[in-house]
Symmetry: C2
Subunit: 242 residues, 2 copies
């Protein structure tokens, strides 16, 4: 059975301007790989409703699961929840449970639960909440879309609560061999080996170390036995140079 | 006049598996912002021709300029040039100038210019070469698409040779103010200020420092005078908490 697929939608002008580096995608990729879910596409769009809606509708139709990060805070540029509601064609309004959690959170902190903070309880109709153990304001799941925070430690906490509920596949395994030769030298035998193992994916990644060219050869797949067999052949081909 | 727009297409299984962190997007974003070109969308797709072709055709139709990174090396998983040719509906074959440069490069290095390395001279018909001062194998430009290497120092060198030839706009300026208050506290007056300056873009980015909540308020635009005016108002609103 093929592994389930996922897509990531990063929302935020600050990523596209270069001001902020997106670290959530790499974290998500690593976690999904371990869970046997294949991250198959990533898109980054600005804080603009038409761009968010178009990308979300393309991704949720194309992949089993979608994750979004960013744009669910209390300020005027946080428009993700409204854009998601529009993409699904549903209403959006204050969610009683989200309101209750946030009201309690700000009461404990002795801070005003003002109109801006109440914005964070606006949730599309039919969505279920995703817990936020860091700062309370929840994410939410609607259909196959998981709407999560952009702040990395909150994104990671939300992912931890979501991931066990997703249908994964056999973990995507990988093994690698570093060889002291450039890509151009190993390309032909490496391609022949890849053709022998059509059920595995083989990639090569050049590096330079102490001024010398080297290549990391990476084999990925879900069957540990096949991976071992391919690695044995790889070592026989290139191991002397490694 | 609105600023020209650009999109980035990152090609590579190694990004989607989490093995490699994409650093080219952030570098490109920063360089384009300085040149007054607005990076408006990013997509990451695997080393699969249908995915590359679909994304490339969507992006080159939607934005003034497109950059790609990855998949132009000598190994079997390097299929970007062929996918770009297919997207444009043109032939692909050995490019005489690229062949000459690579032949000379490998002759100088005393290395065989073998069939795998000759793959790197395959360029779509009608494309012009982008210099690679690091390792010779060129990128290329076809239409509004710039096909560049995934290795960061080569990507950066190629961008340096491409960027001066692009039509930029007024540089996208930004100023920021860090305030010692959470987003929820500044959201309402900050939104009112944003409404007063519809020609500027204002964003807020929460942080936690020494256990206390703070927010970076960022104003972006192309008119330095308007930016100064907005920053003066911002400092009057929140400067005491900064």
């Amino acid at each position: 059975m093929p592994n389930p697929t996922a897509a990531m939608l990063v929302i935020g002008d600050e990523i596209l301007s270069g001001r902020t580096r997106d670290t959530n995608t790499n974290y998500l990729a690593t976690q999904l790989t371990q869970a046997g879910i294949r991250l198959a596409e990533v898109r980054v769009v600005p804080d603009e409703a038409p761009a968010i809606i178009a990308a979300l509708n393309a991704l949720r139709a194309g992949y089993d699961t979608v994750f979004t990060s960013g744009g669910i805070g209390p300020t005027h540029d946080d428009i993700t929840a409204d854009a998601v509601a529009a993409a699904f064609g549903v209403e959006i309004g204050p969610h009683p449970e989200a309101m209750a959690r946030l009201a309690a959170h700000y009461a404990r902190a002795g801070m005003e639960f003002n109109q801006a903070r109440q914005r964070m309880a606006r949730i599309p109709a039919g969505a279920s909440l995703i817990d936020n153990p860091v700062s309370t304001a929840p994410g939410f799941r609607i259909g196959n879309v998981h709407v999560m925070a952009g702040v990395p430690n909150i994104f990671q906490a939300m992912l931890a609560s979501v991931l066990p509920g997703l249908t994964g596949g056999a973990p995507l395994l990988s093994q690698s061999l570093a060889v002291n030769r450039g890509e151009g030298e190993i390309a032909t035998p490496f391609a022949a080996l890849a053709a022998e193992f059509p059920d595995l994916s083989m990639g090569s990644y050049p590096f330079i170390q102490n001024g010398a060219h080297g290549t990391n050869l990476v084999i990925r797949g879900t069957d540990a036995g096949r991976l071992d067999a391919a690695m044995t052949r790889l070592a026989a081909l290139f191991g002397d140079a490694g």
